[in-house]
Amino acid sequence: MKVNNVILQFTAKIVFFIIFFFAVNIFFAGHYTPGGGFVGGLVTASAIVLLIIAFDLNTVQKLLPINYIFVVAVGLILSLGTASFSMFVGQPFFTHFFDYFYLPLFGKTSLHTAALFDLGVYLVVVGVTMTIIQTIGEDE
């Protein structure tokens, strides 16, 4: 018997974007409100997992042809790079920098290098979670 997943698949397509944007919101809000790279990464991974549940592993892999191990590696390099950047300008390791900038659309915004570190964390969390789920899912 073939199961018809129309409602699940249709809802997943819409809900995926809602979850993903919520994840982006959590990620950027992390400095002033609860949230940050770790939670943002987990929520993003859960959005992808929703797609995997609604469709299947191969479809999602075709949709997002990403090698998640590389995502982990890139995330690690980004985090380490942010942390060690300060070494090259004569500050102790992990010293962060921030300043206020006037951006065209946003107005006065504070940009902080901690966000780059968080981006690394985000990538590592997404990469690790998806690697775990894909490897277990593919296993026969």
Binding site: A73, L80, S84, F93, T95
Partner: protein, 496 residues
């Protein structure tokens, strides 16, 4: 402020990351790993010279003032251990080219090695008790990968035990740090040391000291917490076993050494007396194991337990001579254990068995292997010109100074057991009738395994013969250990 002391941690970490790319290209993996280790070794060497000339180096992350940020401290003890770790890893990785097998190499073996080195070096260098926990986890996670990599039946069985034990001890570590934090209110090691001295170590802190001994004792395999070690270490292939045997338990020993010389120095009659008793029983337990087995791997594995006991006996004396001996013996033991595991790895490769009773007569076909094994064995037991001598001599001398005459004589006697256990391998495997030989022996692989092993044995000989050259560094190390104020001043005042 000097970021230089972080390089021996960051460089292996960075190379571990870039090794995650191109996992199927063996040439790239091997060359990058060796390159990363060589650069780190150079940095570690420069760091030692720097520490020797300018005293302990510290850096506090993120430009925060001292007790509030994570401080990394490189004093002579940690700098020496970091260099030893990197040098040993270099030789073990080189040795691994011939024996680890292509399947494992293609599946993140080298990133695993690099991350384990990151964890070990970080644990040696950190000046923050919770950061120590994090680095313990880094090295343990990498060791979980290495112990199970390959997926043989024995590896799967033992990795479950190994992970279970380590998860429990890590949970206990967190609980202990929580107790310490609720009593003292700080996590910076120098700050903890000062605050404990201020309140003069009340009963609760002695309890925490024992809890720390429990936690680190489980990692370092002291009696009665060593039960997991013999079977867990026998499971992975020889290069991984050499890496574990040389590095992992020694991190636990270092952590006991650090906490018992820096924090809990005000109730010696209880804490250090207990440490002394446990060290003695650890030696007895290890000796029984080393003599009971006819399996070459098991004999050397039980020798790890004996050495842990000897080093901790030195720590328990709490005088400068014994602490100097403990550092001497610690580094000697790391080198010689790696060398011995590599040597018996070759013996196992040549004969195709780990059972001593099936071996024999290797001396005729492999005289060089035999003689180098004999030198390493004598070095382990502590025969004078070789590396094990001076460390044990200082430990025993310190024991007599502290008035522990009988136990010191006991330490000397334990050397005989160590000698007996390793010479038995020599007699069974190298003398007598020709025993079993492996059919898959291949001369090039043999040479691949032989060269790094011999270089490491030569290094251990140099370590023994060149005692005079190393002595000033060791003096510096024992000064830091025997007088916590050197460490505390370097961190709290030297760090701006």
């Amino acid at each position: 402020m000097s970021n230089f002391l972080l390089l021996p941690i960051i460089i292996p970490f960075f190379f571990g990351m870039i090794l995650m790319f191109g996992q199927k290209q063996l040439k790239y993996q091997r060359i990058t790993t060796l390159l990363g280790l060589i650069i780190s070794i150079i940095c570690a060497f420069v760091l030692i010279v720097d520490v020797y000339e300018n005293g302990p180096q510290t850096v506090t992350f993120g430009s925060w003032p001292v007790p509030f940020g994570i401080t990394m401290v490189s004093d002579m003890v940690s700098a020496l251990l970091v260099l030893t770790t990197l040098v040993l890893t270099f030789f073990i990785v080189w040795y691994g080219f011939g024996s680890i097998g292509k399947e494992r190499e293609r599946f993140f073996f080298y990133p695993g090695v690099m991350f384990i080195v990151t964890g070990v070096n970080g644990a040696f260098t950190t000046g923050d008790i919770f950061n120590l926990f994090v680095f313990f986890e880094v090295l343990l996670m990498a060791s979980y990968l290495l112990i199970v990599l390959g997926g043989e039946k024995a590896q799967l069985r033992e990795s479950i035990k190994y992970i279970l034990i380590n998860v429990i001890s890590s949970a206990l570590f967190v609980i202990t740090v929580a107790y310490l934090y609720s009593v003292i209110g700080t996590l910076n090691m120098a700050d903890i040391s000062v605050k404990i001295a201020e309140i003069n170590q009340p009963g609760i802190l002695t309890v925490i000291a024992i809890l720390f001994l429990l936690v680190f004792g489980m990692k370092a395999a002291i009696f009665p917490l060593y039960f997991w070690l013999p079977s867990a270490y026998a499971a992975p292939p020889i290069p991984v076993l050499a890496l574990f045997g040389a590095l992992l338990t020694k991190v636990g020993v270092y952590a006991i050494m650090r906490t018992y010389t820096l924090f809990f120095t005000h109730d010696l009659s209880y804490t250090h007396e207990l440490l002394l008793v446990l060290a003695i029983i650890t030696i007895v337990a290890g000796s029984i194991g080393a003599l009971a087995h006819f399996d070459v791997k098991q004999i050397i594995i039980y020798n790890i337990v004996i050495a842990v006991g000897v080093i901790l006996y030195g720590v328990a004396q709490m005088n400068e001579v014994a602490l100097e001996g403990a550092v001497f013996y610690l580094i000697h033991d790391m080198i010689i254990k790696a060398a011995l595991f590599m040597l018996i790895g070759i013996v196992i490769y040549v004969t195709g068995t780990t059972n001593l009773r099936k071996m024999g007569g290797l001396m005729k076909k492999y005289p060089a292997l035999g003689w180098f094994y004999l030198i390493a064995a004598l070095g382990l037991a502590g025969v004078p010109p070789l590396s094990g001598f001076i460390g044990k001599l200082l430990i025993v001398q310190g024991g007599f100074q502290a008035g522990n005459n009988w136990t010191s004589i006991f330490i000397l006697a334990s050397s005989l057991v160590v000698l007996l256990s390793v010479i038995r391998i020599f007699i069974y495997a190298f003398w007598g009738e020709q025993g079993q030989l492996s059919n898959e022996m291949n001369k090039t692989t043999y040479n691949h395994l032989f060269v790094p092993t011999i270089l490491l044995v030569l290094l251990s000989i140099l370590y023994g013969v060149g005692t005079e050259i190393i002595m000033p560094f060791m003096d510096e190390a024992s000064k830091v250990l025997s007088d916590p104020s050197v460490y505390n001043d370097a961190v709290l005042k030297g760090g701006e």
